[in-house]
Symmetry: C2
Amino acid sequence: MKLYSYFRSSSSYRVRIALALKGIRYEYVPVDISPAVQAQRAVGYGEIHPLRQVPVLEWHDASGREQRLTQSVAILEYLDERWPTPPLLPHEPLERARIREAVEIVNSGIQPLQNSKTLALLRTVGGTEVEECWRREVIEQGLSALESLARANRGAFFSGDMPLLADLFIVPQLYNARRFGIDLAAFPRLLAIEVAALALDAFRLAQPERQPDAPPVEARPPSEAWPRSKS
Amino acid sequence: MKLYSYFRSSSSYRVRIALALKGIRYEYVPVDISPAVQAQRAVGYGEIHPLRQVPVLEWHDASGREQRLTQSVAILEYLDERWPTPPLLPHEPLERARIREAVEIVNSGIQPLQNSKTLALLRTVGGTEVEECWRREVIEQGLSALESLARANRGAFFSGDMPLLADLFIVPQLYNARRFGIDLAAFPRLLAIEVAALALDAFRLAQPERQPDAPPVEARPPSEAWPRSKS
């Protein structure tokens, strides 16, 4: 199995966590989607992903046919159906719905509105100030909604004491928010979920700074040069 | 069961189709999210939906407790799990994944980037031309990806001869594209899916112009005054 990924991509980060939680081994294929490189624009990548995004999961099925799957939600639900242990969704329909509700607040409510393409356009037409104001509003509104939902639940994670699909979206979104300098003090429940998550090997192994395409610590600007946790 | 909906909202439209396909009766609660009215900003609506969007599904559970669910994907997966007939997803994990992949191309790849809030911001900071160019690019790119995926499948619908979750996203997105004056000639497979879908009562009943909050035909601007289909 191969994962086309970019270390900083929060959608890739979600899938890396799931693969680690399920204990699925995979080959990491870095795609540098940074504005300076834009490897996704290479001619051949259009065949891997017509929309030229990451992540893409690639594998050979039982009949040896190459399969590629895009869209983190589709990939994650697939992984959970094919490798049900540990489960990423509860059993009861309404409980499953509550997890998917949180997932979509991040997946369609925050991420697309603050990804690099959207922000680049805003910067071009509106300048840095408009871009920052927009990014802050989108992220803070989404995290506020998530914080309320999470507070209504019990447990170390979004719902209960085991990580579920919602946690795979919350942790990368907090990473993104921090990168953008968003003050997270208003979201103590989400921060507690992050602490519980990063106590697990699967979440730590999936962290951006631990990926093969992440620059070495000394090459990063000071705000990102946090020490790798010892584990 | 109550559905908070706006006739033109494509996310509401998806849920209306599912409710009709499953034969679930519901009360329609109109929320006028048009820029001129913005009923979602009313103080009380924040309790219905913290992010002040539509759709919201509301019901009383077996113990009489009021439940509210937001996010169209979460609502649709819930409806499909609670009322499995007719199914909105196939059985086999990879086939399910292919449907969810198409769903997310619309749900996170197109819709959030061309909803009224995003477009209003773009118009404010960049003017009408930037807004139109952005909208066109986002919609055309997404529909192109969907067209390729749909062409790889057989059947009258996105995949096979029965409507599935992907079709519930494609039909409202085509409605949106048309409203915005996008030329759909490059997407013959998607247009054929729309024809097959609108031959079914469930899709027709869910159409924007048939909702109680839709203005009467004569009150609409010419581009939207298409005749209601006789059925």
